[in-house]
């Protein structure tokens, strides 16, 4: 009966010990006087333990006189007694009140501003701009208008597509989404050149407009002119500027060099262990357990315990535990074929990420060289791809 227990708690009750010879008479008199007793328990031949409400307890006095038994209070229980105790300790109450107030006031300030989602726009720039608009650490959270700042941010930074400010307690989280700049499209009427995007050997030229200045087999490097938009003919007096475009397919090479030592030195723990404990305060290090390490060859495992005050703010006090395990060197000879396969897989995987999707792989060259303990592998992938890129033509007007 939780409800009954709660009710009793709020009304307050006392646990009493009743001492006397005729205790049944006492109980009967209580019933008669309408005093509610509960949890009556026989303690010994002459004593009973019972619970009674505060009001009932006062009425008990008369009964005890009549039936000649003694009552003593074993414990006072319930809210009224607790409240009375607290009332006497005024400073405790004021202290509790002020600490609550302090928490409420302190938590209404913004303590840290975090920005997520920026890749191209610098964080400092955003933080400075936000500070000017009134959102910075130390500002009251109720004094800033977040929606207005969001809009202001959007007008200030054109690179941003969306700004969302969220207050999480004392921590302001600003999420930004940057606009993805579309590739520069040159208007069809604007004269332009076609230049090389990558190094390569020209394989095929399709000049749809303009004059190609390279031929098949030419070696071009990044930025070289491929199709010119400045058309000069004998019949023309001044050059004609056109919007050059076309596809230039070239053989490009992607390569990577990897090297692996064939013998690996592995350290194995012998089971001997030695640990050192240190206390670091600022720059000072105090070793308070353990001295010189008794092993020459060991594996070191570090454990640092710090006290974190708040997020990234740490106390400059650290406890460092260094565990030294004695170790033996074990040389291990790796299987050359296995290493080769592993290197190959890794290299191909890395190269594939660089190669554009539309490129056509024509050849793969793998070259392994074994010099002593070192195995070197060179992986080259030959690709035919379009390297054309349009670039605006600067016309010097005479």
């Amino acid at each position: 009966m939780l409800i009954l227990r709660l009710w009793n708690y709020f009304r307050g009750y006392v646990i009493i010990n009743i001492e006397g010879l005729n205790l049944e008479r006492f109980i009967n008199m209580c019933i008669e006087k309408n005093i509610y007793l509960w949890n009556i328990q026989r303690k010994s031949y002459t004593t009973l333990e019972a619970r009674v409400g505060i009001k009932g307890f006062k009425d008990l006095r008369k009964i005890t006189r009549r039936c000649g038994c003694k009552i003593s209070i074993a414990r006072k229980n319930g809210y009224p007694f607790w409240a009375h105790k607290v009332k006497k300790r005024k400073m405790l109450l004021t202290g509790a009140f002020f600490s609550l107030l302090l928490i409420v006031v302190a938590s209404s300030f913004i303590y840290s501003v975090d920005i997520i989602g920026n890749e191209r726009v610098e964080e400092d720039l955003i933080i400075n701009a936000l500070g000017e608009m009134g959102l910075k650490p130390g500002v009251n959270r109720y004094s800033v208008n977040l929606r207005e700042i969001e809009n202001q941010m959007l007008t200030e930074f054109h690179q941003l597509a969306w700004v969302g400010i969220e207050l999480r307690g004392i921590y302001a989280k600003i999420e930004v989404v940057e606009k993805i700049q579309p590739p520069e499209i040159i208007d069809k009427d604007t004269p332009c050149n076609v230049i090389a995007k990558k190094n390569g050997v020209i394989e095929r030229i399709i000049a749809r407009n303009g004059d190609a200045v390279v031929e098949k087999g030419d070696i071009v490097s990044e930025g070289d002119l491929l199709i010119t938009g400045m058309v000069q003919r004998d019949s023309l007096q001044s050059p004609l500027y056109v919007h050059a475009y076309g596809e230039i397919y070239a053989r490009t090479y992607y390569d990577i060099i990897k090297s692996v030592f064939l013998t690996e030195i592995k350290k194995e723990k012998t089971g001997e262990e030695y640990s050192r404990k240190m206390l670091r305060i600022g720059q000072m290090e105090l070793t308070f357990h353990g001295g010189k390490v008794p092993f020459d060859n060991y594996i070191l495992e570090n454990e640092i315990k710090t006290i974190t005050l708040w997020r990234n703010i740490k106390l400059p006090v650290e406890i460092m535990i260094e565990d030294y395990y004695e170790a033996v060197d074990i040389e291990e000879r790796l299987d050359i074929e296995e290493v080769k396969i592993k290197m190959h897989d890794e290299a191909i995987h890395e190269l594939m990420e660089e190669i554009p999707l539309e490129g056509e792989i024509t050849n793969t060259i793998i070259d392994f060289q074994n010099t002593g303990d070192l195995l070197q592998g060179k992986f080259t992938i030959e690709v035919i791809e379009n390297i054309a890129q349009q670039k605006k033509l600067d016309i010097e007007e005479d």
Binding site: I31, W38, N39, I40, Q41, R42, L48
Partner: protein
């Protein structure tokens, strides 16, 4: 006295009235051997942790068991909690 009792009993029988009300008898309810409710008692005669005697209209009700505790005691009702072994009426 005996006569009036008998008349009451007959009337209760005929009218199908609950006898505990008409005859002022105790109503005893048990929950397993854990709890015993006695309604309409006339007071407690003896209480110790293994024996409780309660005065009722039809004699003394004796409850024997272990760790008996008077959970609740008011004018109308007594609740005994504990390990009850025997319940019997003494004259």
């Amino acid at each position: 006295m005996k006569k009036t009792e008998e008349i009451k009993k007959t009337i209760a029988d005929i009218l199908e009235l609950p006898q505990d009300i008409v005859l002022d008898l105790p109503k005893i309810t048990m929950v397993g051997n854990l709890q015993l409710y006695v309604e309409n008692h006339k007071g407690i005669v003896e209480y110790s942790s293994n024996r409780v005697r309660i005065f009722t209209k039809c004699g003394v009700l004796r409850v024997i068991g272990k760790n008996l505790l008077l959970k609740n005691i008011v004018l109308e009702e007594i609740v005994i909690v504990g390990e009850i072994r025997e319940v019997e009426f003494d004259d």
